[in-house]
Symmetry: D3
Subunit: 227 residues, 6 copies
Amino acid sequence: MLARLGFDAVTLDMQHGFHSTESVLRGIAGVALAGKPAIVRIPVGRFDMASRALDMGAAAVIAPMINDVDDARAFAAATKFPPLGERSWGPHRAMQLSRHGDVSTFMRTADRETLSFAMIETRKAFDRLNDILDVDGIDGVFVGPADFSIAWSEGAKVDPRLEEMMPAIEAIASAAKKSGKLAALYAADPGLVGRYRQMGYGLVATGSDTESLVLGATSLLERAKAE
Amino acid sequence: MLARLGFDAVTLDMQHGFHSTESVLRGIAGVALAGKPAIVRIPVGRFDMASRALDMGAAAVIAPMINDVDDARAFAAATKFPPLGERSWGPHRAMQLSRHGDVSTFMRTADRETLSFAMIETRKAFDRLNDILDVDGIDGVFVGPADFSIAWSEGAKVDPRLEEMMPAIEAIASAAKKSGKLAALYAADPGLVGRYRQMGYGLVATGSDTESLVLGATSLLERAKAE
Amino acid sequence: MLARLGFDAVTLDMQHGFHSTESVLRGIAGVALAGKPAIVRIPVGRFDMASRALDMGAAAVIAPMINDVDDARAFAAATKFPPLGERSWGPHRAMQLSRHGDVSTFMRTADRETLSFAMIETRKAFDRLNDILDVDGIDGVFVGPADFSIAWSEGAKVDPRLEEMMPAIEAIASAAKKSGKLAALYAADPGLVGRYRQMGYGLVATGSDTESLVLGATSLLERAKAE
Amino acid sequence: MLARLGFDAVTLDMQHGFHSTESVLRGIAGVALAGKPAIVRIPVGRFDMASRALDMGAAAVIAPMINDVDDARAFAAATKFPPLGERSWGPHRAMQLSRHGDVSTFMRTADRETLSFAMIETRKAFDRLNDILDVDGIDGVFVGPADFSIAWSEGAKVDPRLEEMMPAIEAIASAAKKSGKLAALYAADPGLVGRYRQMGYGLVATGSDTESLVLGATSLLERAKAE
Amino acid sequence: MLARLGFDAVTLDMQHGFHSTESVLRGIAGVALAGKPAIVRIPVGRFDMASRALDMGAAAVIAPMINDVDDARAFAAATKFPPLGERSWGPHRAMQLSRHGDVSTFMRTADRETLSFAMIETRKAFDRLNDILDVDGIDGVFVGPADFSIAWSEGAKVDPRLEEMMPAIEAIASAAKKSGKLAALYAADPGLVGRYRQMGYGLVATGSDTESLVLGATSLLERAKAE
Amino acid sequence: MLARLGFDAVTLDMQHGFHSTESVLRGIAGVALAGKPAIVRIPVGRFDMASRALDMGAAAVIAPMINDVDDARAFAAATKFPPLGERSWGPHRAMQLSRHGDVSTFMRTADRETLSFAMIETRKAFDRLNDILDVDGIDGVFVGPADFSIAWSEGAKVDPRLEEMMPAIEAIASAAKKSGKLAALYAADPGLVGRYRQMGYGLVATGSDTESLVLGATSLLERAKAE
Ligand SMILES: [Mg+2]
Ligand SMILES: [Mg+2]
Ligand SMILES: [Mg+2]
Ligand SMILES: [Mg+2]
Ligand SMILES: [Mg+2]
Ligand SMILES: [Mg+2]
């Protein structure tokens, strides 16, 4: 029944899914205790939840609609401790799930061991991509092809396979690579995974569930941490 | 027992009532499946919940304390798809409840079929009324007479029947009419419903319940959609 | 968008769906305030929730797996006030939603105005059908064809359209009619609605939603109350 | 940070932990999507939750305080489909998580692929151990040493390491083995794991978390399913 | 604003109020940390919640509709440790809130320091009163005058002030006193408090709140523990 | 067991603890009904929850990371009625818990009887301390020594006892005193309470619980209200 051992991460989606504060705070532990990274996608602008998700032991946070440098900075501020950001101290659950017993050690390594992904899904974000990538504390970008297709077609269509936008999507991966950051993406169509990987996307999320949990290949996360 | 068939909509109140993310995400479906519009009043500034409410099938969202054009634009951005706004794609539940099976059709009609009401309840908002009404994506204004009375009396009283403010309340309906937008209002005192309708208010909410659900006459919503 | 006005009731499913105590207590009001009967299907044997659902304003309760007279009596005890049953007094929310302002009047009419449906979905229940129907306080039976098909095929199949069981399903409607009780049924296949109605089923639930809310035609509930 | 890949299962504890219906229904998916078995410990006598946990995709259910054959039969009835038990059909989420696309195939294999553990933690249960083990549908026993020590000391002590009870604990593993069922146990003291394994316990749960999630070695579950 | 210092306990009502498992598990700590006893009224027959409430730090549990000796024994079994009852070990939160650091000491004193109240609210219960009072582990009886009035009037009225039942209510206090157990009661009408105290009721609950929290004078609880 | 009568307030922590909207809305009443002030610490920037906490009857709200005058003004706006702030009218639960029956009286006194604490926990906040203290509607400052130590050590350590920052912490109390506002602080180490009191801190919170509820001495709150 549970022949799913190939999956590498679980995303708890608070943007479009049914997850609430309650279910995310609880759900992270289940995934983490199962030995996999728990990733939380916060609602638009809810950077308070980004901090809380990390306190509870999330391995990564995805913030939708990071459209300019101010958005990116606010997101990084909420997810990285000073001096990099302004994350407040209180990672009670995360420490229990961690291998770092000492508080100062935990704090100094937390910024590196958890990842902040900025979603790039509008033309505005695309235009400011390099500036967003330059923000300290942003570990990578995450492309949302459905929203990107709406933006690219100026509201005419929702089509995560929209051919016209593919060069732009490839350009995002290249820019990320150049700036030494991660490139990730949701692939609604599993048939596109190979193509996205060729473009340079290290983390390609492919699954989805009625409760809006999404599975992703995290080999790239591991690599990032190892560096 | 259920001789309430005259009521036309149910508002789930997250601003002053007991509703949480969880109960709103679940409660919308119950109302929608009962064949009535589910309306959600979000907490002040929580535009992330405006998007989520629409994703879950809400027919309208009411945003309290829209006091200037920036507030109005942020609200419209969260509730309307591009190019009008910046609403992110993910209306899984809303599509199941909808009659539009095709995603692109759903998207193109969603902005018209769901309504965004900006609450006008401070002097500041009153002073900027026309600018707020001019914001694309704001479908109507909603007057909160209790807060308006506090503002009008400069903090001296809470009195939703305050006579001195009635000319201003009438002016709001007129301004809405002139700009081709909807005018709605909570009527704490059912005896005032007739007067408000004469002022030009199409949607007058009258009931309330310990769980802070509010009933409104939605004939006006239907009319808006028909246009 | 909300062209669903033909639907007549909403069932909040706690047996197989995602509903919890919290979401049911809240969700009932939304449906009731929309002017439609809220029906709650409780988990197997959770008669405490049957009482609570009625306290909160449910119009009917469906109890799964009522397999003998003891089950039926326990269910009736939880849903009907003395002397008929042992329902405890505390219908705070139900009274607010009701048209009966006086507590004693409310209590005396509540047993008649809310309905208790016993699910018949095993061979054991079928064998004891007349005894179950004879229990005072059981207002009707509700057939679950999926479970009934498992029982009828002795665990070989799940098939709500199983032809071999149709005579038994028809016999249930006849027995209900003879005892002056209601006959209801979930029709997974809308194509079977006509056939079930011909068998004598007054309430045929047909819809379903990912959150496990189910729609039913309640004309029969209205009739029952009018008698 | 997440170097916990050696763990094999996650238990969501509703008996003594903070888990509620809501958090369990949601939490199971997170664990299952992480590729590990989600196990739910239900509150005493709450067999309705045993069924719901399986509907949501739990791989196993642990029922505390199974003290006699009636308890064991009621538990098995709730967790196994007919003709073995009386589990009701509705595994919507479990099917999505499963590899069996066809409903009848899913049903026929579900009883074998999910496990029902009866907790043996009183003298009464110990005295009736063989009868409990003989109940069809009970896949194994699960020893709770803390409660067992209270019982064994007649209420004098709580001591999960109580030496006097160790022969009885060993006898439980032997009896399980003889009847071809699984033997599992919570080991509060990791130092005792080896000793328990020598006694014949295949699944020894060892971890615990403030939210009462417990980790176990599930190699035995896999073996059970393979047979 | 908070001039309520005279109140002595807070009851979280799961029978007729809005409380769920979630809100009770959380709410107990708030009351206990405020230095007052948290009392939980469970739903009818939900003895699993009685145990969980004590695990979380409740000072007392009230079980409605304890109508015979079997009900009383099942309630006592869930709330008292062996050898008196069958309460399972796991009082993690209660121990944190307690002054007993050692587990065995905590366990041996817990039965005495927490109270189990059986609600007497039907004629059947009244007829078996002495037998119920004789059950070890039942610390007192709690009268529900609203339900008792329905029973006494054979379903004719709900009237917590019903004069005809007053001699019976007085007899309950006398019987409790004779058996050395506590007598408690909800007084819907504060004007009756003096009369109830004269009858011998030590704990008379008088307040109520829309969220169904009830306040009671607990001087009697303190006395019970001091003995 | 409940010898905790010396404690004076209960803080429900939504920043780093497990509390959600749901549990806070419910939990406030339990604490308030126990006769103690309920204090809510909101997540960073979630001023919507500050308003809701007061609507539900909280006696005080603590806002973390108030780093400049804009933050302070936004916080005061959410917690004080006009003309002081922009708090919206809807204190249904707070009025039930209050001694002020008349709405206008309640409104006019609410701003004085509930307290807004701005957390000072960064260098930026320290540099702007006097400006923050000057904001009308900010009743006091609350020092978070863990975050302050991270800021003071420029991210090198988390140490709430950091000696180097103690002069700054003393300066905060002095500044508060000079501006006629309250000074409060969390003391992770109870041994430091005396020292903090000597510095001029009136409210020193000392306890903590796994659910992140924190106890504080509220003598200072009472004094503030009496003035
Ligand atoms: Mg997107
Ligand atoms: Mg308002
Ligand atoms: Mg069924
Ligand atoms: Mg146990
Ligand atoms: Mg009662
Ligand atoms: Mg802090």
